[in-house]
């Protein structure tokens, strides 16, 4: 599969995971201090960062 397609499919998956209205909300603290929703968002941000590394490496072609 071409990097461009991988990137666009990943982007759609990321957006779908951001619109996570199906996920139940609980006042749970991971490690005793990290709220569940913040943990989920930080995980999402890590995936988004990986996506950006992939995007800038394989999809974004410099023309300068």
């Amino acid at each position: 599969m071409k990097p461009k397609w991988i990137a666009w499919i990943s982007l759609i998956v990321l957006i779908a995971l951001h619109l996570d209205f199906w996920r139940p909300q609980r006042a749970v603290l991971y490690f005793g201090w990290l709220p569940e929703d913040v943990a989920y968002r930080l995980g999402w941000m890590f995936l988004a960062w990986l996506f950006l590394l992939f995007f800038t490496r394989y999809v974004w072609k410099e023309e300068d």
Binding site: L19, A27, L29, P35, E36, D37, V38, W44, M45, A48
Partner: protein, 476 residues
């Protein structure tokens, strides 16, 4: 903030000294040409460009407004904003910033409005963009100055009345911006960005320690109001409002003229690419403390009349005196790193987008006229800051939603060859009319926020207007 007045004054004097020295160092090259003064000779490398963009992007909205909002709404504020911004900003830098950088170089444009006017071959597009950029940037500047004034007045126990604090902030930013132009603001942003990032990291550590550790601090929040640890279902957290706000917050940053102009000052495309890799990491480091301070504050200081006070209350109660002074400087740095860029950009826009199309100006006098208009704009902002009564988040939100109406024009203008000046004008008109009607509650919005419909209208009118108008590109 736990610091005495003499400590605050010492910290303030040191801060002013550093930014003025950086301004003075940049002075020598600033006056050599308008391109050097307004765009630092298009020479910003990855690190300075990143700090210039990050410092400009993050203002008191994050340091004062987000703790204030989290105080009321809980940890859901993090998910509502930070993740989608961390993805949206780099992608819009690629989608709009990179082609804008290239086209600005090709057309010799120094401002975003000038770039689109020349690229679409229409002075009218330039005038309208200039007017709308100004309309939405001035309130954004006002919220920054208001925040700095609020924090300085609180930290000095009223020794500096808000109007004196506001005047001081505006004058200092104006002074070093006028001295060194874009190069001065970029380098001061490096310093200011370090100040507010270090402070937020230190505040997170020391506050949690003062509250008995991270677990104890969060357990107290759960005891006081467990709802603060979950995402709500009403207001901005309702699914369609969440979706709409995600679009606003992710797409609006590239439309800030003071952000886009910094991308036009990039040395090359590689520098922009590097910035995109740093952005999500830095945003996480800044937003986690901002949200947690607000949530911890809700447990420590319930029932505040103005939630914008929580940042000050928490730093005063939980940080050592030395860090208290730094907290005040962190807010000042966040405000001034945005304000300087806005002063410079609006000054250049009045000159290049409003005056020059009407009357040809002497190239050597452009820098001085730019400085004069920067001073006029700073004066207007000061007057509004001492008379406008609305929360920091409230003012910022209006500005963000307004900026979003320009997104279709900025995107289609650089990415769609068929886009025309007529399409741009129809897009901006439709977007703004729909937004204002939405604010007035003039039509059913089906759960989506007014800017969502403004964006839809802007894209629809822009595409339709381009398809039915003649295609022409080039100098106006």
């Amino acid at each position: 903030m736990g610091a005495s007045l003499s400590q605050l004054l010492l910290a303030l004097a040191l801060y002013i000294g550093v930014v003025l020295v950086l301004g003075l160092i940049s002075t020598r090259r600033a006056g050599s040409s308008p391109e050097e003064y307004f765009l630092a000779g298009r020479s910003l490398g990855p690190l300075v460009l990143f700090m210039a963009l990050f410092g400009t992007n993050n203002t008191s909205f994050v340091l004062i407004g987000i703790p204030g909002l989290s105080y009321n709404l809980g940890i859901g504020v993090f998910g509502l904003n930070a993740p989608i911004v961390a993805l949206g900003i780099p992608l819009t830098f690629w989608a709009i910033g990179v082609p804008a950088h290239k086209l600005a170089l090709r057309h010799g444009a120094l401002t975003p409005a000038e770039l689109y006017a020349k690229h679409l071959g229409s002075k009218t597009v330039g005038f309208v963009l200039f007017a709308l950029f100004t309309l939405y940037t001035v309130p954004y500047m006002v919220q920054g100055v208001k925040s700095a004034a609020l924090i300085l007045a609180s930290a000095s126990d009223g020794a500096f009345p808000p109007w004196v604090a506001a005047l001081g902030v505006v004058l200092i930013a104006l002074l070093y911006t006028s001295l060194g132009g874009m190069r001065a603001t970029a380098w001061t942003n490096v310093f200011q960005g370090i100040v507010f990032m270090v402070f937020m990291a230190a505040a997170f550590f020391f506050m949690s320690r003062s509250l008995g550790g991270l677990s104890a601090a969060m357990e107290k929040v759960r005891q006081v109001d467990p709802g603060l640890l979950t995402v709500g279902t009403q207001g901005l957290f309702a699914p369609r409002a969440w979706t709409s706000w995600g679009l606003v917050i992710a797409l609006t940053v590239i439309v800030f003229p003071h952000m886009l102009v910094r991308l036009m000052a990039a040395k090359d495309e590689r520098a922009v690419k590097q910035v995109c890799r740093y952005y999500p990491l830095a945003l996480g480091l800044l937003w986690i403390p901002a949200v947690f301070i607000g949530v911890w504050g809700a447990a420590s200081f319930p029932g505040l009349e103005s939630s914008d006070q929580i940042f000050y209350k928490m730093t005063a109660a939980h940080l050592p005196a030395v860090l208290g002074s730094l907290g005040f400087l962190a807010v000042l740095s966040a405000v001034m790193s945005t304000l300087d860029a806005q002063i410079l950009t609006l000054g250049s826009m009045v000159l290049r987008d409003f005056l020059e199309p009407l009357k040809k100006l002497d190239r050597s006098s452009e820098v001085w006229i730019g400085r004069l208009f920067s001073a006029l704009i700073a004066g207007v902002v000061f007057l509004l800051a001492v008379t406008w009564n609305e929360s920091v988040f409230g003012i910022s939100r209006k500005a963000f939603e307004g900026y979003l109406t320009l997104f279709p024009t900025l995107l289609l203008g650089v990415r769609w060859n068929r886009f025309t000046a007529a399409g741009a004008l129809w897009s901006m008109l439709a977007g703004n009319v729909v937004l204002v009607l939405g604010w007035m509650g003039a039509f059913p919005i089906l759960g989506f926020l007014p800017p969502f419909w403004a964006l839809v209208a802007g894209f629809g009118a822009g595409i339709a207007g381009s398809l039915v108008s003649s295609h022409r590109r080039g100098e106006p």
